[in-house]
Amino acid sequence: MAGIVSYGAYVPLFRLGPGTAGWMAPGEKAVASFDEDSITMAVAAAADCMNGMDRSTIDGLYFATTTSPYVEKQGATTVATASDLRRDIITADFTDSLRAGTNALRAALDAVNAGSAKRAMVTASDMRLSTPRSEFESLFGDGAAALLIGDDKVAVNVIGSYSIANEILDVWRSYGETVVGAWEDRFVQDVGYRSVLPEAITGLFKKYKVEAKDFAKAVYYAPDPRRHSEIARRFGFESAQVQAPLFGTVGNTGAAFALMMLVAALEEAKPGDKILLANYGDGADAAILEVTEEINNIRDRRGVKGNVATKKLLRDYQMYASWRGFVELAAAARRPDMVMPSASAVWRERDKNIRFYGVKCKNCGYEQYPPQRVCTKCHAKDNFEDVRFSDKRATIFTYSMDYLAPVGDPPLVIAVIDFERGGRAVTMMTDRDIDELKVNLPVEMTFRKLFTAKGVHNYYWKSMPVRM
């Protein structure tokens, strides 16, 4: 039987919160940096999920989001390639609904149960926008979760599920719009969420003859804290049973929300725990999960806890507004516009740029990035094996800070880094505090978006101080 064999999560480093000039809401929310999007966050969550794992065993990748960077170009293939998965795998995007994450989860379970895949990874990631100063803006957050589904060494079994399809225009985003729209609050709450989510939970309870007290934890989507606690009261969950929603620390992460809260629950779960998972959006999904002994073997993950704890408060709202394109700030110096990357060059360099492959010389053993035809150390020609550099740790050898470069986080830090087991690269550094920079600082690689030109997104790896 298919179940969850691993989990991971990612929360961006930056926060808007009290202390950010121009921020009005009481709590904090996590905001993706100028170089992040739903794809890059999914890659980060996937890396957390695959920690210590042989990636070649994964033969399916689903990407769930309402904020895919493209409308025709699969995000799952980018996530799969950046995660350095095999080529011969099934991939699919699940989009257009807040329920996309659990849609993808069901599909992965079904795929493994049917034998279409042995191990399918579900990534759910979102970066939803609303109008500045709106209530939605104060509630939404950015983040991602990843669940690996398999049928061997299952840590969490899915022992029952119930779904409702519901046709309603309560909260939506139209083609061409950047911000989420909604009908009036009373309608959205009464006829939408407060009606439909409980309908799915009730249907699940009836179908499997379970009650609220059977569950160690209740994990469920809600649009805001009040609606969230209402559900708990309605079904009689004690406060200890309710998995804390991420309002005030991360925010409502859309398609990733329910799965991120599930990851948070799994980080603390004990063998034998039953967990209720319920998600809302164009209907509702509800499921009964049961934790096994294997949960103790997948504890070394950053998860939600580690990511929430490591954070940097943005100094002012204006920085965030420029990152999202609400306002365009002048660069320090005139610079020409970015040109669209050559698709043929991007394709030819995909292993180097998206998998971040270097090579190891089979003659002298020196690992070098980028890949070479002739070894820089011993000059042997065409005698290499591929090496994945994306998960190699490194330290800063030297660095500079470019005060003129037009980046989202000036000054642009350029760091020459030396990798463990050999290799050196000149990198852009992200998520950094210039006061923490020094020679020998430990760094890790992170998958980011360099820029967008003519609607084409250019992805690559940057270095950053080790997150935790």
């Binding site: 005139r334 610079r335 050898f397 470019d402 990798f419 690559y460």
Partner: protein, 391 residues
């Protein structure tokens, strides 16, 4: 292999004013500098049998040169070797004359940089994936500055002061040079406290962007004797090209530029120089950034490794010092039109050797060196010339 020493003479040179020459197109830069060289040599344009035209971004093929000068159906090679372009044009012309293929050749370098509308070099564009970390020259050399301080245990303040001394020296020298782009004194404090460009390098650690052109007429010593008495001889030439070694190899230290060292060895060997600090009277080097000049002093064996800061503080490289460096203000103040700089360096040595360096004239100027550098720490092209008085 035969060396180049005393087989080739420089018999005429020209150099435009360098700066923001809004009124000049690349044609003007070529005409002004080349005709000055032709007249200085006492020849006519039709005497030129072959030419090497250096430019990085101001035109393709030799036709840019021939159409400007109206040279008729002679062989012209368009040369590009990054910031070494002009020295490379000079070197190839010299080899052609030394090989006995041509008697009189023109080496010309010109660059029109102020039409782009952007400060700095290297605008985006072109074709590629654009994933390389954008490191324009200030960033590239800043990486060496950060590491130099770490490697030799300099505090941030000590590094900034050392670099500021170099900027102050070159600014002072520029005020004595009418063709230089910048002619203004600065103080140590101004240099140290200038706005950051690429930490730790500030505004006065970085050379600016300029337009300019320079040229040389090259011939055999026999023909040179017939044309003038004060011709200058090429004593040594060196060119070395790196291959990204320092960018790939994690054992590269970022505090020396191997290409300088190897090119200098070749040129010193050619010229018969055993003790560069003692035997060389002046050096015009590639101070695109103050840190570059600092490291070059050690690469060229003017200072022992790690000791250049002391020599800088002692004034060793000032006009009055033991080994004056960048007597014409260097790239910092004369300017750096990329395709012309190498020939401008040779122009200064040429004038000093002839006793025509005006207010900058050194008392002793018998052997001069130019060092021209293109690329980035970890992968450079370095071109060196050594020139001396005849006999």
């Amino acid at each position: 292999m035969q060396g180049i020493r005393d087989r080739v003479a420089v018999v005429g040179m020209g150099c435009t004013k360098f700066g923001e020459l809004w009124d000049n197109g690349v044609e003007d830069l070529i005409v002004d500098s080349s005709f000055e060289a032709i007249e200085d040599a006492g020849i006519e344009p039709k005497d030129i049998q072959a030419a090497w035209f250096g430019t990085v971004m101001s035109g393709m093929t030799g036709q840019v040169l021939t159409s400007a000068l109206k040279l008729e159906y002679i062989p012209v090679t368009r040369v590009e070797n990054a910031c070494c372009t002009a020295t490379e044009a000079f070197r190839n012309a010299a080899y052609a004359v030394a090989a006995g293929i041509y008697d009189i050749a023109l080496a010309s370098g010109a660059e029109k940089q102020k039409d782009t509308g952007f400060a700095g070099l290297g605008a985006a564009g072109g074709v590629g994936t654009f994933v390389e970390a954008p490191s324009p020259p200030p960033v590239q050399f800043a990486l060496a500055a950060t590491r130099y301080a770490h490697h030799y245990g300099l505090s941030y303040g000590e590094l900034k002061t050392t670099l500021a001394r170099i900027a102050v020296k070159n600014h002072h020298n520029g005020t004595l040079c009418p063709r230089a782009h910048f002619q203004r004194e600065i103080t140590l404090e101004q240099a140290i406290n200038a706005p950051m460009i690429a930490w730790p390098l500030g505004l006065f650690d970085c050379c600016g962007v300029s337009d300019g052109g320079a040229a040389a007429i090259i011939t055999t010593p026999e023909i040179a004797k017939k044309l003038k008495d004060d011709y200058v001889l090429i004593k040594g030439l060196g060119l070395t090209v790196g291959g990204m070694q320092g960018q790939l190899q994690d054992w590269y230290d970022f505090v020396h530029f191997e290409e300088n060292v190897t090119a200098a060895k070749v040129a010193y060997n050619d010229a018969g120089i055993k003790n560069p600090r003692k035997e060389i009277d002046l050096a015009i080097v590639h101070d695109c950034f103050t840190i570059t000049e600092l490291i070059i002093m050690e690469d060229l064996e003017f200072s022992p490794r790690g000791k250049a800061p002391e020599d800088v503080a002692a004034g060793t490289f000032s006009l009055e010092g033991e080994l004056p460096v960048n007597t014409d203000g260097g790239l910092k103040c004369f300017g750096h039109p990329v395709g012309a700089s190498g020939l401008r360096m040779i122009y200064e040595v040429y004038k000093q050797l002839q006793g025509k360096a005006e207010k900058r004239q050194l008392k002793k100027a018998d052997i001069g060196l130019t060092q021209n550098l293109g690329g980035r720490p970890g992968s450079f092209t370095c071109a060196i010339s050594i020139l001396g008085k005849r006999d």
